[in-house]
């Protein structure tokens, strides 16, 4: 019998040192049950040779799997999660009778799906080693976008026992005509990093794929591996068929041993009012790097990564090997950094969320988080990335970039101590993803609408899908689903007399294969080195540094300098799909790239920050300078109560300002800003623009807003009334670029428009059609078309964060505190400093055109237009 909570480290692959210790919560009854699970003899011998024993959660997972259950395993990094996930498969395959010569090849036994192809490759290596050492007759192969086609074909004929792949490849496999046969022997699906998969449209596509697999193989079991999340039950439902509704997988939770040691940098320098660079702390960060063996530095955006990297090298007197890693860098460059990291050749690495997932890193003994963590769970996952020495807790330092971030870091630290989780709740499955899946199913085999509807609803994200909507999606896939029935003869799928939907011609399946997946790349250009002053053509052949979004490059002029790939670069020009740059060492990067963090402040942390502001007792936990700042605010204005909304108005220069402090995250504030400026405009306040941060919102105007609110024309209650989410939202959304961008994604994912592929960029303006134009036409002719419906739902949940705004507006009903001030308050300083640094919202394109046209007239006189 196994001891109930024996601390035994287990190793995977070639990891040379023992990992952290983990405690498993196992109920006594289960522990008894565990005792009856016997590992096959070769496993016992292998464990013995290594001097290890299987860990309790691994045995428990095996027991549950053997009894036919699907299981969710929640465990921190390094807990031996991967081996646990594969143990049911390995033990089953170990005792499976060998295939006799002449017998047909067996199909896939276990499918492993991870969000990163690099992770699949990593697992192949790490799993291969124990399999070889135990002497198991098991074949393990990967199948990703990089797998050569001859290997893919061979995999179809002679499938491996365990196939490691990605959600996109699964979608392609089930859209093949031999899918049912290919998967007929499937027993398990292992889903790695499930917490990250389920929050995106990739997760929706994967859930539909799983539903399909379950219809091929009714007894299929799933094993989900996840980091700690706020609502494990959501993931448990996700793993199993929702017929019966609400059914859940089994759950095993492994809690960590020692708590990590997290501290907030108590800087000797002045913590800035605003900004995201944390430049003030560079010498202190450098000191920490020198003190530790390997430091992993996390930041929130690519531009922060570039800046921090530059700053560190500026003070790097000892020329320590410090590297940079983010998703826009050239792949070869990233691989070099990853390899150096694996070889323990680096002292520090500056990274963005591209390193959030997956692969274990070298011997990291310090994690530094620069900038606000934005969410408690996110912080915990990032700190968990570091590998640990046996009995040392992991160590992390938080570096707030400005004063509000000090409050946020404090809240995140407390949350971590309490083990609070704030992963976002899961959203309903996208209709665009469903459309892609329906076409994929048709490519695989003819289907009956009734059957597919029942199947789709077994996937948790689509459990509440109604039949009329499903039928409209089918209609959309067939002919576009337009009220004007013009395209019947061009239908992609057709309903035959036998009641089955079939693809109309083989070209449809071809098109589908090219467009599969839900990852939409932002239009980006290669960044290539040339000699200074050259226009490109003469200087081709310089190294490619990576890719930058077209939208940013569009704002540059010849000679502008900016930071990228750890260098200061001069913009030389754009030709076709390449951006030419030259080295500009020693110069300052003139053009700041404001890439606001992708993740808005979590609701949980926002509330903690409000609670902290409302409780002067707790200011003692804060650095003295920050506490002083809050005391000043209390003196000059007022601090918001925990559930109130504070609004300050004051004049400055020849403008009037309104600053609101909802703490609801940048996206919700941006939406609020758009809606408020519309209302203020109607009320005659003549608003000119606004900026939004994670904490506050500032609007400026020509009219005296403070006086208007005092005269109750309009009253603040009326201004912030929830009804703004009705007509005002509709009216604003109609023309908003946010909606156009969302529509583009939906149009590409649903297969309305084909994705462009590399090399296709020059295919000419007549062949393709811009999704913005399609959006305009569709909106004015069929505003309730299903794709617009999908777009609005998507935008509301995503870029607009409408639900969070709605919650806030209802919370603050009757709880608005207005302070009409003579001058700016201490709390308002941070957001006022953002004005001018961030692109100003609310300024119409027409105004910009007007300015440009006026410049022309001023320079050249009005007559020149005439003659």
């Amino acid at each position: 019998m196994l001891p109930r909570s024996r601390f035994v480290p287990i190793l995977l692959g070639d990891c040379p040192w023992p990992r952290y210790l983990w405690r498993v919560t196992v109920e006594p009854r289960l522990a008894e049950q565990n005792a009856t699970i016997a590992l096959p003899e070769p496993f016992v011998r292998w464990f013995g040779e290594k001097g290890w024993s299987p860990r309790a959660h691994q045995i428990e997972l095996l027991a549950k799997a053997r009894s036919g259950q699907s299981v969710l395993l929640i465990a921190p990094t390094g807990a031996g999660k991967t081996l646990a996930g594969f143990l049911p498969s390995l033990t089953e395959l170990a005792v499976r009778p060998r295939r006799k010569p002449g017998q047909a090849h067996r199909g896939i036994h276990t499918l492993y799906i991870s969000p990163l192809k690099a992770l699949a490759v990593d697992i192949e290596r790490n799993l291969g080693k124990p399999v070889e050492e135990i002497g198991l007759p098991i074949s393990i192969e990967t199948r990703t976008g990089d797998t050569p086609s001859h290997k893919r074909q061979r995999q179809k004929l002679v499938p491996p026992d365990i196939l490691l792949t990605t959600p996109e490849q699964l979608a392609l496999l089930i859209a093949a005509s031999d899918a049912r046969r290919f998967f007929e022997d499937l027993r398990y699906v292992v889903l790695d990093e499930l917490h990250s998969l389920v929050t995106s449209k990739r997760g929706h596509l994967l859930a539909l794929g799983l539903a399909r697999l379950r219809s091929f193989v009714p007894g299929l079991q799933t094993i989900g591996l996840s980091a700690t999340v706020a609502e494990p039950d959501e993931l448990r439902r996700w793993l199993v068929s929702q017929n019966p509704p609400g059914d859940m997988s089994e759950l095993i939770v492994v809690t960590g041993g020692a708590k990590p040691e997290i501290s907030i940098l108590d800087s000797e320098e002045r913590v800035p009012w605003a900004g995201h660079s944390a430049r003030y702390a560079t010498p202190e960060i450098y000191r920490e790097i020198k003190r530790h063996k390997t430091t992993l530095l996390f930041v929130n955006t690519r531009s922060q990564a570039e800046l921090l990297f530059q700053e560190l090298w500026r003070v790097n007197e000892d020329t320590l090997p410090i590297a940079l890693h983010h998703g826009s860098l050239d792949v070869a460059q990233r691989r070099r950094v990853e390899k150096a990291m694996g070889d323990n050749a680096l002292r520090a690495i500056v990274a963005t969320s591209t390193l959030d997932l997956g692969i274990d890193w070298g011997d990291v003994d310090l994690v530094v988080h620069v900038g606000a963590p934005k969410g408690a769970s996110r912080l915990a996952q990032r700190i968990g990335r570091a590998n640990h020495r046996m009995d040392e807790p992991s160590k992390a330092i938080l570096i707030p970039a400005n004063r509000f971030e000090v409050l946020e870091c404090r809240a995140a630290l407390d949350a971590n101590y309490l083990g609070a989780q704030d992963t976002p709740p899961l959203v309903d499955g996208g209709l665009d993803v469903l459309a892609q899946h329906v076409l994929g199913c048709a490519c695989g085999a003819p289907f009956r609408a009734d059957d597919l509807y029942e199947e789709v609803r077994t996937a948790a994200p689509y459990a509440s899908l109604d039949r009329p909507t499903f039928d409209r999606v089918i209609d959309f896939v067939a002919t576009g689903g337009y009220a004007l029935k013009n395209y019947e003869r061009y239908a992609r799928i057709r309903l035959n007399k036998d009641g089955l939907w079939r693809v109309s011609n083989p070209r449809v399946a071809q098109q589908y294969r090219l467009n599969v997946g839900t990852i939409i790349e932002v239009p980006a250009l290669n960044v290539r080195y040339v000699k200074a002053g050259s226009k490109g053509s003469a200087a081709r052949g310089g190294a490619v540094l990576g890719k930058i979004e077209e939208a940013f490059l569009e704002t540059l002029t010849h000679g502008d300098t900016f930071m990228f790939a750890g260098k200061v670069l001069r913009f030389e020009g754009i030709r076709e799909n390449e951006c030419f740059v030259s080295n500009a060492p020693g110069s300052d990067a003139k053009v700041p790239y404001y890439g606001g963090g992708k993740f808005p402040l979590s609701t949980y942390l926002a509330e903690q920050v409000r609670i902290m502001l409302d409780d002067p007792q707790r200011w003692r936990e804060l650095p003295e300078q920050v506490a002083d700042w809050l005391r000043f605010q209390a003196d000059k204005s007022i601090l918001p109560k925990r559930d109130d909304l504070l609004i300050e108005t004051f004049p400055r220069g020849n403008r009037y300002y309104l600053v609101a402090y909802p703490f609801e995250g940048r996206l919700a504030h941006q939406t609020l800003g758009m809606l408020l400026t519309r209302r203020l405009d109607r009320a005659g306040a003549r608003p000119l623009g606004f900026v939004a941060t994670d904490y506050a919102l500032a609007i400026w105007s020509l009219g005296d807003m403070g006086a208007m609110f005092k005269a109750r024309k309009p009253s603040l209650g009326a201004l912030f009334d929830q009804d703004m989410l009705g007509d005002d939202l509709e009216a604003w959304l109609a023309d908003s670029w946010l909606l156009k961008r969302t529509f583009r994604n939906c149009a590409l994912i649903s297969g309305l428009i084909e994705k462009r592929h590399p090399g296709q960029e020059k295919s000419g303006r007549q062949v393709t059609v811009s999704t913005d134009l399609v959006y305009d036409v569709l909106r004015s002719h069929e505003p309730d078309h299903i794709l617009l419906q999908a777009t609005r739902a998507d935008a509301a949940a995503g870029l607009l964060d409408v639900s969070r705004l709605a919650d806030m507006l209802s919370r603050i009903q009757g709880r608005i505190m207005h302070k009409n001030l003579e001058q700016i308050s201490p709390l308002a300083v941070p957001i006022m400093l953002e004005i001018g640094k961030m692109p100003v919202n609310g300024e119409a394109d027409e105004t910009l055109l007007m300015d440009a046209a006026t410049l022309v007239e001023e320079a050249m006189g009005p007559e020149m237009v005439e003659e």
Binding site: G480, L752, L849, E867
Partner: protein
């Protein structure tokens, strides 16, 4: 002068240009109107582009023809021209006119009634559109003006052309604005594409090389209700 017959209130001084001496209005909706000639020019309607793409499996909304005709109807009813010139690529492909929904065909014929209507042949529609009135021509000279689809390689004073779908881009205060535009240097004018699904190509692209006197090139960018005249020095590529 027949000037008064047109709705003069529509014609803002700022939108007036001269092409080879002829007065013309660059309408922000993307048409060119010659008040003295009572002539309206419109280019690259690309009617039935939607169904053309649908034929090849891209089922974009079938409302482009209707949307384009509705906008055309609006400008025609405002200016009441006696001559209309559609400067080529009026249909996205040769089968376009046949594919057109009966209701749209009726709407188009109603617009044509009582006017001289010229279909200039384009590269997408080299032949006369099936069963539609109007005269199909390769090019058309009226006074000092020459109307044709593709701009000539050589410099031609007074040439009005389409084909290239010009747009222009400016950057102001860190923001980029891109709009369709008329591109002209006082001698030649290239018109923006009018069709609902037509894309556009920056006037600084190589495709325009040699077409304009660069020092006097202006982009008349289309605003919501006015034209913005921008000189070349303010324009950005891309």
């Amino acid at each position: 002068m027949n000037f008064s017959l047109a709705r003069t209130s529509l014609i803002a001084e700022a939108d007036l240009v001269r092409i080879a001496g002829e007065r013309a209005v660059c309408d922000p909706r993307g048409v060119l109107y010659f008040p003295e000639l009572r002539l309206l020019a419109v280019s690259d309607l690309h009617l039935e582009k939607g169904s053309s793409l649908a034929r090849r499996g891209t089922l974009i909304p079938p409302y482009d023809t209707g949307a384009t005709l509705l906008r055309l109807q609006a400008v025609i009813s405002d200016y009441q021209p006696s001559i209309v010139i559609s400067l080529g690529d009026s249909f996205h492909d040769e089968g376009g006119a046949e594919r057109m929904h009966a209701s749209f065909r009726e709407r188009l014929e109603a617009l044509m009634a009582g006017r001289d209507w010229f279909w200039v042949a384009g590269n997408h529609d080299p032949e006369a559109p099936a069963d539609l009135p109007g005269e199909t021509v390769r090019e058309l000279a009226i006074g000092s003006l020459l109307f044709r689809h593709e701009p000539s390689k050589a410099r031609v004073e007074g040439e009005i052309a389409g084909h290239l779908h010009p747009c222009a881009r400016i950057v102001q205060r860190g923001r980029s604005v891109r709009r369709r535009c008329f591109a002209g240097d006082g001698g030649r004018m290239i018109m923006p594409a009018f069709g609902a699904y037509t894309g556009s190509l920056n006037v600084l692209d190589r495709a325009y090389a040699g077409l304009f006197r660069l020092e006097s090139l202006m982009a008349y960018m289309l605003g919501t209700d006015r034209i913005f005249a921008i000189s070349r020095s303010m324009l950005r590529p891309g």
